[in-house]
């Protein structure tokens, strides 16, 4: 057992960190700065991070879920407002189906509670992380397994409700019309969907690790500067204990997230899903505590739109619900040890 990152993994993580530190939004006002966002998008596009799960000669993914997690974490830490989670999981579906990559930007469409991949038998779905997507992938159960279909996604217009996450819009899509089957090499099995769900949960968990780190960094800086009673508020034990819990939940999540990401490609799909669900549940509970504490330590300011704390909270709530919230994941954990009924 040696769970240290390889030098290549460290380099990947650091380059993602550099990009987001340079071009990510530092303040809520910068979310509206389209010049900045276009530059961030160009950097991410050029990096090839969205193609980590593309197919190599043997049909295997080009990079493991650990690499995906490392990038997801850094992008979340810097509140990157360009797509990653959605396109990565769309490409994974194409890999599993032996389908060629899309020439147009795409994402995935989930059920309205985000708990699973949308099926064409429904009327409506939600395209997630759909900032630049022109289409979204849904599934249909065919006679020999699942087949993929694509559905157009309308652009984000002013005035359209784009969901709770200010960095990653969710856009409703209608499934009744305009669904087109994707030409694929072979059907997708139930096991494929299980493994794919594990990848989605582990990537969302890494996203939560990053959001927690971003919220913590923001809060440490504020608590060290903000003065009351003639002292920095971070010198008060009541505040210090809240913040000690923040970093502890973060580090615990970091460990379980790393294991979940490793498990995606190293273990059987059922086991990978069980561990991913455990990590996702732990991460969701931790992220809510951490982001709420960030708001509390920022106090009145933390409850204003201009404070970045709610950007992390909002982002983490999308990631927490992604492919099943805490309740779904607790049930998956119990199913993994042979207990149904939750």
């Amino acid at each position: 057992m040696d769970v240290r990152l390889s030098p290549e993994q460290v380099a990947l993580r650091d380059s993602a960190a550099q990009v987001v530190d340079r071009l990510g939004p530092k303040a809520v006002g910068q979310l509206a700065d389209t010049t900045r966002r276009d530059r961030l998008e160009a950097a991410v596009l050029e990096s090839g991070w969205r193609e980590l799960r593309s197919t190599d000669e043997d049909g295997a993914p080009w990079a493991s879920a650990v690499e995906v997690a490392l990038v997801a974490e850094q992008l979340a830490r810097g509140c990157a407002d360009v797509p990653f989670l959605g396109p990565t999981l769309a490409l994974e579906l194409r890999r599993l189906a032996g389908a060629p990559p899309s020439s147009r930007p795409e994402t995935i469409a989930l059920t309205s509670d985000l708990s699973s991949l949308a099926s064409t038998t429904r009327d409506r779905a939600v395209a997630v992380d759909a900032g630049l997507a022109e289409q979204a992938i849904v599934i249909e159960l065919g006679p020999t397994g699942y087949v993929l279909a694509e559905v157009p996604v309308a652009g984000v217009d002013a005035g359209v409700d784009a969901g709770i996450d200010l960095t990653r819009p969710t856009i409703p899509v209608a499934l009744s019309s305009a669904v087109e089957l994707i030409r694929q090499g072979h059907p997708i099995t139930g096991d494929d969907i299980t493994g794919w769900t594990a990848l989605g949960l582990s990537t969302a968990t890494a996203d939560l690790v990053g959001a927690m780190q971003g919220a913590l960094d923001l809060t440490v800086e504020y608590a060290s500067q903000r003065q009351q009673f003639g002292r920095p508020i971070g010198s008060f034990q009541a505040v210090q204990h809240l913040m000690a819990d923040m970093v502890s939940y973060l580090e615990g999540t970091r460990s379980t997230a790393l294991h979940a990401a490793w498990a995606v490609d190293a273990l059987e799909p059922d086991d990978a899903l069980g561990y991913a669900a455990a990590a996702a549940a732990y991460a969701a509970r931790s992220a809510r505590i951490v982001c709420e504490t960030a708001i509390q330590v920022h106090a009145g300011i933390g409850n204003t739109w201009e404070c970045m704390a709610h950007v992390f909270l909002r982002r983490s709530q999308l990631a927490s619900d992604f492919l099943g919230g805490v309740g779904t994941n607790l049930a998956r954990v119990l199913e993994h040890v042979g207990i149904g009924g939750l």
Partner: protein, 373 residues
């Protein structure tokens, strides 16, 4: 990046598993019999080469990376065998601060289990404020004369030696006048009184009185006035993942609770099942966390204050598992099978032992986050 065993690790695991078939003493964790069995258990683990991993071979250690302790902990928990003896922090304290002479005198017997050691740090009036301790050691020729009252001393009823902190210089600030000693427990001036804990156990902790106990000056560990630095090395190490031998044990308790539910799932409401799920999740998290921390040690990274994060995670895990034990094991109102209820009761001490949860938070805030004082 691999959470699975290397071929060498796998061979080690198989050897340990086979050994356990014949050598597991089969005592219930935390029971009086458990503590009774510990001295023999320590020696047989060491003789078989499964204890002392990462410590110098000249003192009886086993020359393997610390990650092997994860394997030992997992296999011991899986076989429901007692945990590793928890004395790594004493060994590290002596290696960092003790003279060559003291190291040679103490470490071989301590590591092999031939000499049994307890620790005399806390006092009735010196708990979290350890540096206020009042046990006195007064120099008299080539000896020190020690008098005082220690408490929360694990293993005090069985120990041959006490690793004791005493005040040698009352004239300097409290952190500077403390020294450490090796004190024989068979001295007629040493009196041991067991403490009865909330789970009814009387073998976990004792109080120890020292009444004019004379020890040679050469029994001092480190230099005069070094006691505080030594104690801080030890308590910091006590929080490190190396010493979190219990990580796998919590997973085992969660497995036992899972088995109880699987036998008759209809008996349990969703609230109880959720408690079980959280116990599984946190026990799993802690194991991964220990794997991560021990892997980082392969680079020689030492975890000073980060150990307090690990300790907080361990506290929360033990108490989440304890709550699941309460929810699933149920209070034994009919007097039957109190084991899970006692597991719950014992979990309450997790946030006190080795530095309270609140002290850990203080350390994390100032030394990890760098928050101002």
């Amino acid at each position: 990046m691999d959470f699975e065993d290397s071929p060498e690790e796998h061979a080690f695991r198989r050897r340990l598993r086979a050994w356990l078939v014949d050598h597991n003493p089969h005592v219930t964790y935390g029971s009086n019999e458990y503590w009774e069995a510990m001295p023999q258990w320590h020696q047989s683990l060491h003789e078989a080469g499964f204890f002392g991993i990462g410590w110098p071979t000249e003192y009886g250690g086993v020359d393997l990376p610390p990650v092997y302790n994860v394997i030992v902990d997992e296999e011991l928990a899986d076989a429901e065998a007692p945990a590793r003896p928890s004395l790594g922090f004493k060994v590290v304290g002596i290696m960092h601060h003790g003279s060559q002479d003291i190291q040679q005198k103490i470490l071989p017997g301590m590591i092999s289990g031939a000499d049994r050691w307890c620790q005399g740090f806390s006092e009735p009036d010196s708990g979290s404020d350890l540096a206020s301790l009042r046990t006195r050691a007064v120099r008299d020729g080539d000896e020190y004369v020690i008098s005082g009252h220690k408490i929360w001393t694990s293993y005090s009823d069985l120990a041959d030696w006490c690793f004791l902190l005493a005040r040698t210089d009352p004239g300097v600030p409290k952190h500077k006048g403390i020294s450490a000693f090796a004190v024989p427990m068979n001295d007629p001036g040493v009196k041991q009184i067991p403490l009865k804990m909330i789970n009814g156990n009387v073998r976990d902790f004792g109080e120890v009185m020292f009444d004019n106990v004379r020890v040679p000056a050469t029994n001092m560990i480190g230099a005069p006035g070094d006691g505080w630095a030594l104690a801080m090395t030890m308590v910091a190490h006590e929080r490190e993942p190396h010493e979190i031998g219990f990580a796998a044990r919590f997973a085992k308790t969660a497995n036992q609770l899972t088995a109880i539910v699987s036998d008759d799932p209809g008996r349990f409401a969703s609230e109880q099942l959720r408690d079980l799920a959280w116990a599984i999740i946190e026990a799993d998290m802690l194991q991964r966390h220990v794997s991560r921390r021990l892997s980082e040690r392969l680079d020689g990274i030492s975890h000073g204050a980060e150990g307090s994060i690990d300790k907080l995670l361990m506290i929360w895990t033990e108490q989440t598992v304890g709550h699941a034990a309460l929810a699933i094991g149920r209070a034994p109102h009919d007097g039957r099978n109190p084991a899970m209820f006692n597991t719950y009761l014992y979990s309450r001490s997790a946030s006190v032992m080795g530095g309270t949860e609140q002290i850990q938070r203080n350390l994390v805030a100032s030394r990890v986050l760098g928050l101002p004082n």
